[in-house]
Amino acid sequence: MDLVTFGVQLLNAIQYGMVLFLVASGLTLVFGILGVINLAHGAFYMFGAYLAYWIAAYTGSFWIAMVAGVAIAFVVGLVLENVFIRRLYGRDHLVQVLLSFGLILVIDEAREILFGKDVHSVAPPAWLSGSIQLTDNLSYPVYRLAICGFCLIVAALIFFVITRTKIGMIVRAGAENREMTRVLGIKFDVVNRYVFAVGIALAALGGIVIAPISTVFPGMGDGMLILSFVVVVLGGIGSVAGAAVGALLIGLTDTFGKVFFPSVSSILIYVLMAAVLLWRPNGILGRREV
Amino acid sequence: MASTASNIALRATGLHKHFGGLRAVADVSIDVHVGEIHAVIGPNGAGKSTLINLLSGELFANDGAIMLDAADVTRLPPDRRARHGLGRAYQKTTIFPRFTVHENVRLAAQARSPAPLRMFGSVRSDTNVHDLTAQAIARVGLTAQTQIVASDLSHGEQRQLEIAMVLATDPRIILLDEPLAGMGQAEARGIIDLISSLKVGRAVLLVEHDMDAVFELADRLTVMHDGCVIASGSPREVRTHPAVRSAYLGDHGDAS
């Protein structure tokens, strides 16, 4: 493998890892702060991609699709928290697993009713649709580079909010010690609602930005849910930094796995997960049990 | 009191434990003899709970060694230490709340039976386990409550159950973590009498804040402060120890 090909693969790995991070950070935030395991997270990723396709097809604009898709996901998140999710706080995981499984069936069928079950593709914005010529016979799509840049901005925003703002402080305190923050009298019902909505919006955003480089298909949420779980297990639950580490590790493992070990590439990330479980059962950046 | 090595049931030497940068236990050595109650006292944050967790195996020491009789258990997990004859009662009552008193104690007896994980036959079929269970329940005076679900017991009764469970494992050394916490005067009296009877044929290590009870029960005292042992000896020696008076008893007035 020459240096240029290596560079291209490295970019692919980072770009894949960044999208994974977007989705998984939503999952890990919702678990870390609300204590709720949400299996429907992947379904929102899928739904976001279909929304992007649908809105883009009507308006002709990827940007409108992106903004409107995220906004719709956010509002849906607010409503779902209010109707269902808040009943799960403090309940055992089995109940959370099954309620979110019920949600998956509902979301899947809603998608079927609204958008059908066809496979679609979404065109990237015109000015990002070109390619950069790297060598005579090797080029790299601008849109993939744009994803990297965009995800970096979102990641920076997430870290800024969590580490530098008052809301972030409340959120961190909640993840560290739910009991304590309850005692402090912070309005948790409000914080919870927005955290859940942001989590859902991040999942949908992931689906929207991936739509132009992947196809939009009904089963896409399942695969992403599993990957997000592996990211969270690798990085340590509730830790956004852990999600970043886990997502990049998976991006690298998957991309270079396909290059070097194509026959077993689909199970390589699970081997990675098994190795991390043997080494640090609570994740690379997870707190160790006392 | 003979201090020969032969009747030392538990010997910890040079234990260290730190959490990140925080030193919880530093160079603590302690011997607990069969036939004695050895009390560990000290102000809050002195490292008593950490010490008891190190001894029971729920925490591993950063340095030092722990011997149960002749066996080095320093790196063994709690379940293996239990099978070496170590029994523990917790500070916060940790019974099995959905099981009856009898079932709670039977589980403890079963844990020390020759086939604790037998997969066939009912739990009721082992007469040995059954006898041990009945004895332990009778010993703590819960015979009338045998069939009551543990979560329905009073706080004092739950502490009694806790001790019955420890007894049913037939331990050679018992670790008691604040057995009197949250108890009324009358309830405490019964538990104190029970504890004083435990030392026959066994070694007892007691962590307790109730100084009256400690000085009534203890044959030997170790005083901890800031993770270190500052004094060890008979209750009389400890009471007059100047470092103890300034570091600990001084905060509480005359503790006797």
């Binding site: 395991i37 299996l39 009943r87 309940r91 055992d92 995981h93 089995l94 109940v95 099954l98 309620l99 499984f101 019920g102 998956i104 069936l105 509902v106 069928e109 009713i113 739910r178 599993i226 779980f229 297990v233 639950i237 689909s266 199970i267 699970y270 997960m273 098994a274 043997l278 059962p281 609570n282 049990e289 | 729920e58 709690p78 379940d79 293996r80 239990a82 099978r83 523990r88 917790y90 019974i95 099995f96 709340p97 959905r98 099981f99 079932e103 039977r106 403890a108 079963q110 844990a111 020390r112 039976s113 604790p116 994980l117 037998r118 997969m119 036959g121 739990v123 679900v149 329905d152 469970m165």
Partner: protein
């Protein structure tokens, strides 16, 4: 008297059933029994062990694949050879997944089992083993034959039904024995208070791993017969949607009994059948029903009884009233 009367009546009804209903229903009940075996197997881990596993479909599907791979072309496979092989394969994989997943607790355990289950799904989906994503056929149903003389042919729906009924009863017997044994009590103790159980001297990790492996092997038993009945295996058989559906059956039937999940399986399968027959959007309705059940009846449908027949004076004991899987909160 009542203690054994109900099971005997139910058993008599189960034996009489194939003689009084059309073949379609015999096959339908066979399928429900198979799912019941799977749900009871899963409940050993979930209800009795407090281990919310999302990879039991993988054990189920794997055993089905073992039958498909061992079936010789268009001839029937030997049940006495292939069934133990299928259960052993499921147990072996349960041992590996369990050994890794049990290093974690609570929500991690859920995620890790889900991920490893999907690994098996992708293994059969992406590689060429047994037809890849297209699946593979089990052309002839297994048989029991000695020296070329056929004793039992599962191709007959009636024979198939009775073999499944036999294994259903065997599963109930084995699980009941396990749950009532010292092992079962130790498993339940570890579920209710892991720390205490360990300090009493119980090797928690080993107890849970053994329970997980037994549970996986019985899930394999169910998968073997499912593959035999449908005559077809596909990667979806290993997918986590099936695992979650079986968890729903367990919750419907109640976590605290051996046979509850069997009832849950019957309820959910009949419900699905009715919904499929009445609406195109049956998954939407099923999803909503699952959500309602989860929110309204965390103790399973048996919670409905007191509401229907009125609370009895002797009522359920506090143990039955306790919330399910209390320990697995906030891993």
């Amino acid at each position: 008297m009542r203690g054994w009367l109900i099971p005997v009546v139910l058993l008599a009804a189960a034996i009489a059933l194939p003689f009084v209903v059309p073949t379609y229903y015999v096959q339908f009940v066979s399928k429900a029994f198979i799912m019941g075996i799977l749900a009871m197997a899963l409940n050993l881990a979930v209800g009795h062990g407090g281990l919310v596993s999302l990879c039991h479909a993988a054990f189920f599907g794997l055993a089905g694949y073992v039958l498909a791979l061992l079936s010789p072309g268009y001839d029937p496979a030997s049940l006495l050879l292939t069934l133990p092989a299928a259960m052993l394969a499921a147990a072996a994989v349960a041992l590996i997944i369990g050994a890794l997943a049990l290093r974690t607790r609570g929500v991690y355990f859920i995620m890790v089992t889900l991920a490893f289950g999907e690994m098996l799904f992708f293994l059969f989906h992406d590689t060429g083993i047994a037809g890849g994503s297209d699946g593979a056929y089990v052309n002839a149903k297994p048989e029991i034959a000695i020296a070329g003389h056929q004793l039992l042919d599962l191709a007959s729906p009636m024979a198939f039904y009775f073999v499944v009924l036999f294994f259903l009863i065997a599963t109930i017997a084995v699980l009941t024995m396990l749950v009532r044994s010292p092992f079962g009590h130790a498993l339940a103790a570890a579920r209710d208070n892991e720390r205490r159980a360990r300090s009493l001297g119980f090797p928690i990790y080993r107890i849970r791993l053994i329970a997980f492996v037994i549970s996986g092997a019985i899930a394999g038993l169910a998968g073997y017969f499912a593959a035999a009945q449908f005559g077809f295996v596909a990667p979806q058989m290993l997918g986590w949607h099936l695992s979650a559906t079986v968890l729903v059956m367990v919750l419907i039937g109640g976590l605290r009994s051996v046979t509850g999940p069997l009832i849950g399986a019957l309820v959910l399968i009949v419900l699905e059948e009715v919904l499929k027959a009445s609406t195109d959007y049956w998954k939407l309705i099923e999803g909503l029903i699952i959500i309602v059940i989860v929110l309204a009846l965390p103790g399973g449908v048996r919670q409905l009884w007191p509401m229907i027949v009125g609370a009895r004076a002797d009522g359920p004991s506090p143990r039955q009233a306790a919330p399910p899987v209390a320990e697995s909160r906030h891993g």
